[in-house]
Amino acid sequence: MKLGFSKEDEDFRSECASWLNDQMSGEFSDIKGITTLTEKAERRKEWEQQLAAHKWSCIGWPEEWGGRGASLAQQVIFAEEYARAGVPGRVNHIGIELAGPTILTFGTDEQKKRFLPDIAAGKTIFCQGFSEPGAGSDLAAVRTKGHVENGEWVVNGQKIWTSLAHISDWIFVVTRTEEGTQGPKGLSFLMMPIDQEGIEIRGIEQINGDAEFNETFFTDAKCAEDSLIGAPGDGWKIAMGLLAFERGVSTLGQQMAFRNELDEIIAAAKSNGSSNDPLIRQRIAKAEIGLRLMRYGALRMLSNQDHSKVDGAALTYKIQWATWRRGLGELGMDVLGQGGEIAEGGEYAWNTLPNLFLYSRADTIYGGTNQIQRNLIAERGLGMPREPRGK
């Protein structure tokens, strides 16, 4: 067991830090420090291309697909330095973290060639079309239908809560392709171009006033026959594989963003004197402990090579960070006091901490709600009986 990094890795750290800092103080200084998903989306697409041009886009991918085949330690370091430099999150995070690894694992060579370099280069922004009005926690209740006609897939139905669909180029959808099937059987995983007649996107306003997610309607929407990942009927298996990628190295970058949020709370507490309140001091210490344990939990899960038993650190990671961050949102508001409830610019738009307070209510919902996480932990991690199902 070893936590320290080697000399070579530390050199790598300086290399990424200096490149990232140069970018953020130079050509891309206008996007430094943005914390929302969609602000300045066009500039951030250019940033994706800049990363790719310098081979910093998907460093963990094999070299032939635009990566560097970087070691785990290097990926950890890059993720940390990326956030430390105040670089905004990747607008194509769904492409890089979900679609890309899914294609790498389940796609054909043709599909890899077609999608991976463009995902790495920020030319193909992806969004995720899983949830439907009738299929949320129970994802297998998907009703969107697909069939092949004249050598193309034709899709009809509706997705909902599709984050970033309005700025995306492609969407991957889980759709029912075998008539009469129910549950996880008969589903398929398709990649569809968004810019077409058959797809309509309508924004949905969120509790913080932003509209980062959407309703996505499919009316005879089309994609090429070879846009299917895996075989027809493999959709569930692939969707589950994809959800596992959500717990990859990118979580460490996410944690550095959390670090920045906690630091902002600490600075606010010091400046308004609430740092003298013993209860606030306890809560800040707890938040600090929680964040550190998240880091070491992630390192444990990433270092784990023993795949013979359930990895507890991985299984509990989602609910841990989501619950921690929701608590952080509340702590931020308690530090700010009543002033936190007043918007500064006269519009319904929020600074980092009030926005964190509102936005973090979603963390315990998307990607599997806290209740669903507990079911999974109890069933897969602890061997408890499965939930009874209705029809």
Binding site: M1, K2, L3, G4, F5, S6, D9, L72, A73, V76, I266, A269, K270, G273, S275, N276, P278, R281, Q282, I284, A285, K286, E288, I289, G290, R292, L293, M294, Y296, G297, L299, R300, L302, S303, N304, Q305, D306, G312, A313, L315, T316, I319, Q320, Q371, Q373, R374, N375, I377, A378, E379, G381, L382, G383, M384, P385, E387, P388
Partner: protein, 351 residues
């Protein structure tokens, strides 16, 4: 960076788990509880047959000079059986003498600690008075002080070696809630004491080892509470189904696991930080001690609740865990104290 056990560490952990499961059985622990809180047979095999008494002792003094990570795996295993052994004292005093003792002190005491021939413990009180090599004062809550032959006592800056049979030392053992680790009271009047060559170094590492020991014991204890409750949840039926199939019940089990996984990260983070001399070590120790103690207490409390009536009986082991958890929470400072230390690192002193 590789935050997973090496093969050797995994082997030590497995050996220790097996050893404590076979030796520190419920009936052996209960015999100790009814007597002086010391399971001698287990301790003897631990030090001699298993040879783990010298885990933290340098090789030239009969130890194996392994690191805190290795030690933590052992303490975790001991904690999972609530073993009635003076492991905490061994960790603290062994590493304190190794770090702050003179050559003579080391060669006199360390081999005897490693072999288990000498049982050690320690404690402190700022009011301890030293006068011409004689110590006077009172020290409470000395774990396993009732059976220790050797103490390291401190006033917070200096540290002394005191032998249990020294003139002027009296040891009283009040009835302690956790009978697997009795807390003794030492009263000293002009007791012969041998100052450690480097008291500050001894206290520093001694404290660290003590905190790691408690945090790791708590981790093992919490995991055992969860494992045993899961067994019961699958066996016991009510309303025609296993109680573990009720969502309110299984979510509570999940919550235990979520805390335990963090506790595991905390223990091994802190242990690694000490072994590697990382500047995070102090923060990690405070985090580990406070987080693991709270986790253990939560899990032990839940263990009682999730067992129903049987969990409230003397016969069932749940209360052993519950009482050990409570005592780990208060030993070597409360969670609030540790968190305030962290708050001070981040925010400065409160005005």
């Amino acid at each position: 960076m590789d935050f997973a056990f090496t093969d050797e560490q995994a082997m030590i952990a497995e050996t220790a788990q097996q050893f404590f499961a076979e030796n520190a059985t419920s009936s052996r622990t209960r015999e100790a509880m009814a007597a002086d809180g010391f399971d001698r047979a287990t301790w003897q095999s631990f030090c001699q047959e298993l040879g783990l008494g010298g885990l933290l002792v340098p090789e030239e003094f009969g130890g194996s000079a392994l690191g805190m990570v290795d030690f933590a795996t052992v303490a975790e295993a001991a904690g999972s059986q609530v073993a009635a052994i003076p492991l905490h004292g061994l960790a603290m005093i062994g590493s304190a003498i190794a770090a702050g003792g003179s050559d003579e002190q080391k060669s006199k005491w360390l081999p005897q600690l490693a072999s288990g021939d000498v049982v050690a413990s320690g404690g402190g009180n700022a009011d301890l008075k030293s006068d011409n090599g004689g110590l006077s004062g009172k020290i409470e809550f000395v774990p396993h002080g009732n059976i220790a032959n050797l103490f390291i006592l401190s006033d917070g800056s200096e540290a002394w070696i005191v032998e249990a049979d020294a003139d002027g030392l009296s040891v009283d053992t009040p009835v302690t809630m956790d009978q697997t680790r009795p807390q003794a009271t030492l009263t000293l009047s002009n007791v012969k004491a041998d100052p450690l060559a480097d008291g500050a170094a001894a206290l520093n590492i001694g404290k660290a080892a003590g905190w790691i020991c408690l945090a790791a014991e708590a981790l093992g204890g919490a995991q055992a509470c969860l494992d045993r409750t899961c067994e019961y949840a699958k066996e016991r039926e009510q309303f025609g189904r296993a109680i573990g199939s009720f969502q309110a019940y299984k979510h509570r089990l999940a919550d235990m696991m979520i805390e335990i996984e963090q506790a595991r990260s905390a223990v091994y983070w802190a242990a690694c930080a000490i072994d590697e001399g990382s500047d995070e070590a102090e923060l990690a120790l405070h985090a580990a001690k406070s987080f693991c103690a709270d986790t253990f207490f939560k899990c032990a409390g839940d263990m009682i609740q999730l067992h129903g009536g049987i969990g409230f009986t003397w016969e069932h082991d749940a209360h052993l865990f519950f009482k050990r958890a409570r005592s780990i929470q208060t030993m070597m400072q409360s969670g609030n104290w540790h968190r305030e230390e962290i708050a001070t690192m981040i925010l400065g002193e409160a005005a």
